[in-house]
């Protein structure tokens, strides 16, 4: 919101004045309106390891984050470039693996990636698109540059909060919207449905699209239900589907009905107990066979996890150069791969200064925050890294940019990141802005909802 000099950044001026004129009581009242809206609508997420009453609201901060048009356009170009490269990478990896034979990525990195699915080598996916929906986490460094922190190319979640946040803001601050030209986000579900219809098997013009959820106990069930409702498609659990003669059907009161496209919010491992984890009760026996025969399309496709492995992440700028012959528009955060001997030496010597992440965890789990860690924690990570160097990366601690948040009864700076949602169908579509997550605990750099994070509305200006 502020320049280094302490001046208000120009696009925040009006908001700053408006908030300055408001009393704490007035602000608190607005906040109550918003909180009640979330609670009664059941905009909640589930906290595991708790008994009854496990649904909480995702804390919402009323001060919007504002992104000027030019700044956003650069982000948009960078994300488009990135998802294009990632899809080319996945196609290559599941076919000739030229990027490996040309020496850009070591073969072992691919082979050992947990989410790499060698059984799908040579398999062609509809329209050659692997990642249809991607959530890429961005942060801004001290100079205001956007850096990519990670890609979420399997089942990124959170988009429903973004849409609900906007609804809440319109209710609470209608006047601000008439003052600022804020680009709308409401078309997301229409665009998503277009993407899902686009990848229907055999170009079927009227495909039956469903959303496959693990069920009501999943932490993101609200979102699954929200998206299905907004797209007007059926939300199904594994038990609603059955595979017959290599095709997928859903069980309805009028008999079996063919399913063409599945927007699945279940990880690869649980999709089909005949192929992956045999103890999965969430999936559908025979689903992978139907998929292989081209009778049903999945979004995202199976095996995209090799692209969002944190070690693969290190190579994305190289992919962009390799496949597109372009310089990356959005750089990565500086990253050390403990897989490389020299990097590992540096990482082990500087554990107290770095953030160490294991390659396949998400949600803020499996992480070492060096400066705040105890010597026991560092020792545990040292042993883990030496035992399995492939599985760890390290990054310098980035001071995430801060944005004012309303805390109890006053405003304080809190660290934020940004997760834009990228759709890849007939064209690349990026919903303006994204989900801005806030580390609401003072001084915290962790924005995950499971770790005390909240969110705020994100405005991309159209002027």
């Amino acid at each position: 919101m502020f320049e280094l000099s302490g001046d208000v950044r120009p696009h925040y001026r009006w908001l700053f004045d408006r908030c300055g004129n408001m009393s704490t009581e007035e602000f608190q009242k607005k906040r109550t309106i918003a909180d009640n809206a979330f609670l009664t609508q059941g905009v909640t997420f589930t906290v595991y390891n708790d008994q009854e009453g496990t649904e909480r609201i995702f804390p919402f901060d009323l001060i919007p984050r504002i992104i000027p048009r030019a700044e956003w356009e650069k982000v948009e170009r960078g994300l488009g470039q990135r998802i294009t490269a990632l899809n080319l990478f996945l196609h290559d990896i599941y076919h000739e693996q030229k990027i490996v034979s040309d020496g850009v990525i070591p073969a072992e990195i691919i082979r050992s990636a947990v989410h790499f699915r060698p059984e799908f080598m040579g398999f062609d996916v509809p329209k050659d698109i692997y990642i249809h929906i991607c959530g890429t986490d961005l942060i801004r460094d001290a100079d205001g540059n956007y850096l990519v922190l990670e890609d979420n190319a399997r089942c990124p979640s959170g988009v429903s909060y973004l849409l609900e946040n906007r609804q809440a803001m319109k209710r609470v601050f209608p006047n601000l919207f008439s003052r600022y030209l804020v680009r709308p986000v409401e078309t997301y579900c229409v665009e998503l449905l277009d993407v899902l219809r686009f990848i229907a098997p055999n170009g079927n013009p009227e495909p039956n699209v469903v959303l496959l959820t693990p069920g009501i106990y999943n932490s993101a069930y609200f979102e699954h239900s929200f998206l299905a409702r907004t797209m007007g498609i059926e939300i199904v659990v594994g038990a609603d589907l059955v595979v017959q003669d290599g095709a997928v059907f859903m069980k309805t009161t009028r008999g079996l009905q063919r399913v063409d496209v599945i927007y699945r919010r279940i990880d690869d491992d649980f999709l089909d107990p005949l192929v992956f984890r045999s103890d999965s009760v969430l999936g559908v026996p025979g689903l992978v066979d139907a998929y292989r025969r081209g009778n049903v399309s999945l979004a995202n496709t199976i095996g995209t996890g090799v692209a969002d492995d944190k070690v693969t992440y290190y190579f994305v700028p190289k992919m962009i150069r390799y496949y597109l012959d372009q310089d990356p528009i959005l750089p990565n955060v500086e990253t050390y791969l403990s897989y490389f001997d020299s990097d590992r030496k540096y990482v082990l010597e500087n554990l107290d200064k770095l953030v160490v992440k294991s390659a396949n965890e998400s949600g803020g789990y499996g992480m070492l925050m060096g400066p705040q860690s105890t010597s026991e924690q560092r020792e545990a990570f040292r042993q883990a890294i030496e035992k399995n160097p492939r599985n760890y990366i390290a990054q310098p601690v980035i001071q995430l940019s801060r944005s004012p948040s309303f805390c109890d009864d006053h405003f304080e700076g809190r660290h934020i990141d940004l997760r834009p949602y990228i759709l890849y169908g007939e064209k690349v579509t990026i919903i303006p802005g994204g989900l801005t997550r806030v580390a609401l605990r003072e001084g915290s750099l962790v924005v995950n909802s499971s770790q005390g994070g909240g969110s705020k509305d994100t405005w991309v200006l159209d002027e």
Binding site: I216, E234, V236, D240, K251, T252, T253
Partner: protein, 335 residues
């Protein structure tokens, strides 16, 4: 519509209806007991008959040393280990609602959630202890509000018809059980059939079905056992009579299948069963019922309602792995 969704809507509706009926039954009988003290009846035997008609005697005995008014009221109202208690029914109803949130209106969800939270937070028990009357009033009105919201906010399409079927099948079953309570209550020695105590007990039966005033309007006279039975079994316009409920089930079934009702047609097994039961109820006379024995007659009705319920689940939800209707639900809850 998905079979699982139809199943969940059906059970959501059955469980809310069951919660309401059980609450009303407790409310009425608690009030009746106030009179019973005066009339010097054996109260324990009265509560026994309630547990007996609910077919929960064994479960009850597992959790309570003896049958007392307090124990029965707790068992039927608050006991989570009793799957048919008001609290359990609301919890199951809410759980079913949660799995089909995108199918029901937001208002329906909010109301079912509110009812469940009332019990979960302990507000229900606090209100019960400060005023039993207020507590049952709240519970009954909350359920009625839910049904009104459902009527007014949900599109009257296939899913809504499944909600109707669940509600009316449950209600028919409960009405038959409430009527049957009287069979198990013996009159104190020295009391006459048609005497004071007998009449008070029959009035309690009517009140348990919200039927006392409609009954009076209909017969304009004394509360007579055979008339009460006739009213609750065969009345065509009272919405809690067994005939009315079965008629509604039959109507909804034909809405779902699209088969014309007018020509006695049926397409699927549940329609055949509901049509057959409906015809029996229409053409049976109250003398025939009493000749057979009211208890035996109600027993048969209950079995036929279960038969219809099973046929519906088999016809429309054959894909779901239901062994029997109650068992499958319990499995669902414990996952």
């Amino acid at each position: 519509m998905l079979s699982r969704v139809a199943d969940a809507l059906y059970w959501l509706s059955r469980y809310t209806e069951r919660a309401e009926n059980n609450a009303r039954m407790m409310d009425v009988n608690l009030q009746l007991m106030l009179d019973a003290q005066l009339l010097n009846t054996r109260t324990q035997q009265h509560w026994e008959s309630i547990i007996y008609t609910l077919e929960d005697t064994e479960l009850f005995k597992k959790h309570y040393p003896e049958i007392t008014g307090d124990a029965v009221v707790d068992f039927v109202t608050f006991q989570r280990k009793n799957p048919n208690s008001v609290y359990s029914c609301l919890a199951f109803a809410r759980e079913n609602a949660r799995t089909v949130r995108e199918q029901i209106s937001i208002e329906m969800w909010e109301q079912i959630n509110r009812m469940y939270l009332f019990f979960l937070t302990g507000d229900a028990k606090r209100l019960f202890h400060s005023s039993t009357y207020e507590f049952y009033k709240w519970t009954l009105e909350a359920s009625q509000l839910f049904q009104g919201i459902c009527e007014a906010t949900m599109a009257h399409e296939e899913g809504w018809e499944f909600i109707q079927i669940g509600k009316f099948l449950e209600r028919a079953d409960r009405t038959s059980r409430i009527l049957d309570i009287k069979y198990h209550i013996l009159l104190p020695s020295g009391e006459q059939v048609g005497g004071n105590v007998d009449t008070v007990q029959w009035m309690a039966v009517l009140r348990s079905c919200s039927a006392l005033e409609p009954y009076r309007k209909h017969y304009r006279g004394q509360v007579m056992p055979w008339k009460v039975a006739e009213f609750l079994v065969k009345n065509q316009t009272f919405p809690r009579s067994i005939l009315f409920c079965v008629d509604s089930v039959d109507h909804s079934l034909h809405k779902i299948t699209g088969v014309d009702r007018g020509d006695f047609q049926y397409n699927v097994e549940p329609e055949r069963l509901s049509g057959k039961l409906l015809a029996d109820l229409c053409y049976v006379t109250i003398d025939e019922i009493f000749e057979l024995g009211l208890h035996e007659y109600l027993d048969r009705i209950q079995l036929r309602l279960i038969e219809i319920s099973k046929a519906i689940l088999k016809e429309f939800c054959e894909w779901l792995e239901n062994e029997d209707e109650e068992g499958a639900q319990l499995q669902k809850q414990s996952q």
